[in-house]
């Protein structure tokens, strides 16, 4: 069953086309990763799905029903953890979670239980009386998450929830997301941290310029791009001639050299490593450590979205 279904969504900000016939289909129980460079349209897409933003064209269905601003029944089944921390600076941890939980759950007793569980879930038990300004960045992020998930939503949008948190907090957050998913929630997760997405997402979409570039499982994405193997060789003073010879190899897709390490992206093949090393030996070069690994999601992302700097 599709929990989120978006078809041909078009959104313009005056002259800028933010979403260009964007399509999305997220099934129940998935942890769906939405990847893209800054300004690629991830947050815009989420805000359109949540009916915060108007859009020019397209269909948005949540839980199989047409989404609209006044569909409070559907909103009640959704949890949102926004990119920017959005909590009351003047309220304590408990009060903040209780406030947001009350937007969904009216019964006081049930709410008290849910708030307690959310506090335990994000590990803020020692800080219940603290106000956000007294909490560290990581703890505030956890509070931000607790406010979004306390009412036990069926669908959770997490928009870059691990920005500016330490590795311990990040691990706790990721484990929490897995736990929510195990308990039955469908998760839509956006992040710039590829290893996180690789770690927790069952399906991943890479988007740029408001368009879907690729969508599939981690392995499917890696297969989609031509890179079969990434070879790294430590070489001191690589002459231009040798570098050109490496680039000219039939298995080489692209290559780079930073003065210390030669990086070669190869097509799939069994002899890639020996071919590269033989070429270096033929050029009379000695080399240090050698690494060979399949492409990472980061490689896939850069190959699809390009390596030029973004805003």
């Amino acid at each position: 069953m599709s929990v989120v279904y978006v078809e041909n969504l078009v959104k313009r900000y005056k002259e800028v086309l933010a979403l260009d016939h964007f399509n999305l289909d997220i099934r129940q129980g998935e942890v769906f990763g939405l990847l893209g460079p800054n300004g690629s349209g991830k947050t815009t897409a989420i805000n359109c799905m949540l009916q915060l933003l108007t859009y020019d064209k397209g269909t948005i269905e949540l839980f199989g029903e047409r989404m609209a601003p006044s569909r409070y029944d559907l909103k009640g089944r959704i949890g949102i953890v926004p990119q920017n921390v959005a909590v009351f600076e003047e309220l304590t941890v408990t009060e903040n979670i209780d406030y947001f939980c009350a937007l969904y759950e009216k019964d006081r007793k049930t709410r008290a239980r849910l708030v307690g569980e959310a506090i335990e879930f994000v590990g803020l038990g020692e800080y219940v009386r603290f106000r956000p300004r007294k909490l560290s960045g990581g703890l505030v992020r956890r509070l931000n998450i607790a406010c979004g998930i306390a009412h036990r939503p069926e669908l959770i949008f997490l928009d870059e929830p691990t920005v500016a948190v330490d590795p311990q907090s990040r691990n706790a957050i990721l484990e929490g997301i897995r736990s929510l998913n195990r308990d039955g929630s469908t998760v839509v997760y956006t992040s710039h941290y590829m290893e996180e997405v690789e770690e927790i997402c069952t399906r991943i979409m890479i988007m740029d310029h408001g368009q879907v570039l690729a969508c599939g499982t981690n392995n499917e994405l890696k297969t989609m791009v031509g890179t079969g193997e990434k070879i790294q060789v430590e070489v001191i003073d690589l002459p231009d001639k040798a570098f050109e010879a490496i680039k000219a190899l039939s298995c080489t897709q692209r290559a780079g050299y930073d003065g210390k390490t030669l990086e070669v992206f190869c097509t799939s093949g069994a002899q890639n490593l020996s071919t590269v090393l033989q070429t270096l030996q033929q050029e009379g070069l000695s080399f240090g450590r050698v690494y060979s690994e399949p492409p990472t999601l980061n490689d896939v992302f850069l190959e699809l979205t390009g390596t030029e700097l973004r805003d």
């Binding site: 601003p69 003047e90 406030y99």
Partner: protein, 388 residues
């Protein structure tokens, strides 16, 4: 809705910026006004004039004069003189020099009273009163002497004697206002008008925190499963309550600490409820203006408050005169000036016997609130935005 109301109150109570302008500033200003205008009101109230009398044989012989001034020194509401009896001129001069008395009376050997004052011995009003008193006595005495010399049989007529003792006042003092006019109350009322507009900041913050296009918190709150109208209503109710409490505290401080007369206290409190309703509407409108930050909105409100307060008479005599002139020249502008209307609420209770004028001002404030809420609703009616 109750939860939103409860937590909005809790959150807003901790917004220091609101209460600096809506509460602390008016309290400080009221204290300063209290100190400044205490003397102004004293000047309007006649205190017994400290006067020395040289109590010698001549004074005791001048029975008519001594009885007259001693009658004027009898304690009570009408007490005009506070007499200090001294044995000789040297002692009287000493008191005059020390500033203990405004002047002193001395009867000369011919039985004629004289007044002795110095330029530094008190304010000119008190000196004038002492002079008029002795002038009046001397003139009456001279008139009686003339009548006795020219028409002594007149004293045989009991009606003449009766008329002689009777002072006829050809003017009658009536009050056209409910309370005695006070020079200072207008400033306190204008200060409440100023505080009312500043209290709009509370609603500005409340509205900003509910609108998706104005803050990340507003965006998140807009995504909840509670209708936006309910959430907004709860926030505005919380703002109204806090604005009302701020004004009530300022009012109570003026009324019970500074002893400012508001005419009718219960009606004043009702008036504050209406004023805070209007100010909440103003805050909702300013708060709903898109694409400008909370700080700029607070700045706009401060400028508006100061501007409106100028025409409500907050800034001293010239401002009071300007307010009165504007009432004559541009009455419509003054009717649209919320600060002036809040000030007028208290005028109407202080100066008028009935409630007609009070109800008229209440109606104007409610009409203002209705228009401002309507404008705010037009700005906030969108549920989705072209951009955030």
């Amino acid at each position: 809705m109750w939860n939103t109301f409860k937590y909005t109150v809790k959150a807003l109570v901790q917004e220091k910026s609101c209460f600096v302008w809506a509460l602390a500033f008016p309290l400080i200003m009221a204290t300063l006004f209290g100190a400044m205008f205490a003397n102004l009101d004293d000047a309007r109230h006649l205190n017994p004039i400290p006067t020395a009398v040289v109590d010698n044989a001549h004074y005791r012989n001048a029975q008519a004069f001594s009885e007259t001034i001693e009658a004027l020194a009898k304690s009570g509401e009408d007490q005009l003189l506070d007499l200090f009896f001294v044995k000789n001129i040297a002692e009287a001069d000493e008191l005059l020099k020390n500033g203990a008395v405004v002047g002193y009376y001395q009867i000369d050997e011919k039985g004629q009273p004289g007044l002795f004052i110095t330029a530094a011995s008190g304010n000119s009003i008190n000196q004038t009163i002492l002079k008029n008193l002795v002038d009046g006595f001397v003139q009456t005495q001279a008139a009686l002497k003339t009548i006795a010399e020219n028409n002594p049989q007149a004293f045989a007529d009991p009606k003449f004697l009766e008329n002689l003792q009777e002072r006829t006042n050809y003017t009658q003092e009536i009050s056209i206002v409910a309370n005695e006019a006070s020079g200072s109350v207008r400033y306190f009322y204008a200060l409440l008008g100023f505080a009312a507009i500043m209290a709009a900041n509370i609603a500005v913050i409340a509205v900003t925190q509910t609108q998706a296009n104005l803050s990340p918190l507003g965006a998140r709150r807009s995504l909840g499963a509670t209708s936006r109208t309910k959430a907004l209503l709860a926030s505005l109710l919380a703002s109204w309550l806090l604005a009302f409490l701020c004004l009530i505290i300022v009012f109570a401080y003026m009324r019970y600490v500074l002893d400012i007369n508001f005419g009718r206290d219960l009606a004043s409190i009702f008036g504050l409820g209406v004023a805070s309703f209007m100010t909440t509407a103003l805050g909702a409108f300013v708060g709903a203006i898109p694409k400008i930050g909370e700080l700029l909105k607070a700045g706009i409100l401060t400028v508006l408050s100061c501007f409106f307060a100028l025409f409500a008479g907050l800034y001293g005599e010239p401002s009071l005169k300007l307010a009165d002139d504007m009432n004559r020249i541009a009455p419509l502008f003054q009717k649209l000036n919320p600060s002036r209307q809040v000030t007028d609420l208290f005028y109407s209770l202080y100066f008028y016997d009935g409630f007609d004028e009070f109800y008229r001002v209440v109606f104007i404030l409610l009409a203002m609130a209705a228009v401002l809420f309507l404008l705010a609703a037009l700005l906030m009616r969108r549920q989705r935005y072209a951009s955030l």
